[in-house]
């Protein structure tokens, strides 16, 4: 039972079917002249349209990238490069506003920029995981060149008020980038309605292939590329087009778009059942992050007295594949920066569990998952010195 769809999601067989011809006979290069090239170019156009539709953009506002991480890097670094040309000693144009709970693709890009003299405001969030719009507005200054705030959070699923963030950004003529990697296909994402100027998305989170993503850049906003070369993607992102993956992203976007209503209902039903059953059956278990402004496919719970890695490993033995916010499961042994931003103490954030729902999960599986969690938590509490049996 795979409930780790926010980490990565299985490729939809329909998507793979759409890709296969381009992995086999249609291996052409979109820039060649003969028929193979023409077919590749058409496939590219179609996929661009499919992706644009998903977020209510125009086709030529979509740039294909190698994934969400590259999209985030491009958004931020391109703005920096662009502003470098306008910077003067009086106007260093070196301020960026983001939040404490961004994905590392944004956070570590910002930290990298700090090494080169950039000032970053990391907005805090409240205990629900939401930023404060007043604080955002107060953080803006003359040197602010970008506001980058995620659409929804990859750990706790909290959805930020993008529409209002965009309004504030535009009041001060600052571009607004939103990392919507976890939102697209899960909740309505509409760049026009939500005042988003630059947006990142990734295929492998919506049952598309890995290694492909897109960056939306609003028409009129010209950005220097992060990757230079042969002039593909209208010179905005060079490199031989990864046609099979692009076709896969297009198909995944189309399916996500068509099924959005259904998906939301499906996910929410399962999510609510999981939350309800787990919190009633397990004492001292608490939901992390807002219940109201939350992705329909995200369950994030902490259990006192236990540690997350052992929880995950035990669950995997029972066939339930999930994630944790525990420090012990990461390579750097730092606990979740998101849970820290929620002011949850390390000892408590350690015992966190993320279940992220996908189309393959069924309501009938909820009881199995809940039972596995209940048993495991009970076992680990039994052997825990921090739990009084």
């Amino acid at each position: 039972m795979y409930v780790d769809n926010s980490a990565t999601s299985p490729l939809n067989p329909q998507v793979l079917d759409a890709m296969i011809p381009y992995l086999k006979e249609e291996y052409g290069n979109a820039s060649t002249l003969y028929f193979l090239g023409i077919k590749a170019k058409r496939a590219l156009q179609k996929a661009r349209h499919q992706v644009a539709q998903l977020i209510n953009a125009e086709d030529d506002e979509i740039i294909f990238t190698s994934g969400g991480t590259e999209s985030d890097n491009t958004a931020i670094k391109s703005i920096v490069l662009k502003q470098l040309k306008h910077k003067t000693p009086e106007n260093p144009k070196n301020h960026i506003i983001t939040t404490q709970i961004e994905h590392p693709a944004v956070l570590n890009t910002c930290k990298f920029l700090e090494e080169y003299g950039y000032e970053i405001t990391y907005l805090p969030v409240d205990k629900d995981g939401l930023i404060n719009l007043k604080q955002l507005e107060n953080a803006i200054n003359e040197q602010t060149i970008l506001i980058t705030i995620m659409h929804s959070n990859n750990e706790i699923g909290t959805i930020q008020p993008t529409k209002q963030i965009g309004e504030i950004a535009h009041k001060y003529n600052i571009p607004f980038h939103s990392d919507a990697v976890q939102s697209v296909g899960k909740i309505p994402v509409d760049v026009k309605e939500q005042n988003i100027d630059i947006l990142s998305l990734s295929a492998h989170k919506i049952n598309g292939p890995k290694g492909i993503g897109a960056l939306y850049v609003k028409k009129g906003l010209t950005l220097p590329p992060l990757i230079h070369g042969g002039g593909q993607e209208n010179s905005k992102r060079s490199g031989t087009e990864n046609i099979p993956a692009i076709v896969g992203l297009g198909k995944a976007a189309e399916i996500a778009h068509e099924n959005l209503e259904k998906t939301m209902k499906h996910n929410q039903q399962i999510r609510d059942a999981l939350i309800e059953k787990i919190t009633t059956q397990i004492p001292d278990s608490y939901i992390n992050g807002s219940l109201k402004h939350r992705l329909p496919n995200n369950v994030h719970i902490r259990f006192s007295g236990i540690e997350g890695e052992s929880l995950i490993l035990k669950l995997a033995q029972k066939g339930v594949y999930a994630a944790t916010g525990s420090a012990c499961s990461t390579h750097n042994l730092q606990g979740s920066h998101v849970l820290a931003a929620l002011q949850i103490k390390p000892a408590l954030s350690h015992g966190s569990l993320r279940l992220s729902i996908g189309p393959e999960n069924r309501l009938e599986d909820v009881d199995y998952i809940v039972d596995a969690i209940v048993e495991t938590v009970e076992y680990l509490r039994e052997i825990s010195p921090l739990w009084d049996n």
Binding site: E307, C328, L333, P385
Partner: protein
Amino acid sequence: MDYTQKVIENYTNPQNTGVIEDADGEGTVGNPVCGDIMTIYIKVDENENIEDIKFSTFGCGAAIATSSMITQMAKGINIDEAYEITRNDVAEELGGLPAVKLHCSNLAADALQKAIENYKKERN
């Protein structure tokens, strides 16, 4: 490096978990690196051999596996010998640990030493 088969066995089916209510010695350590916590309880016989040993842990898979392993290694041997068990001995016995998880084996070795020290102090 991933968890070895031995590690997996030991956190899947940890040996000697629990509490010894009338323990002769007891040691609790917290891991400064990650914040995890472990307690080891020992029961010592008249020859100063470790008759019984149990642990409880709030820790990762590696912490559970090393605890399980060290309790097996220490059970039945003399406390002075048991005192000499290092984190490397435990890691070796487990077929190695991922680099980032080496610190976890400290927990077990330190807790055992603390329990033995506690026993000696109590006895005197």
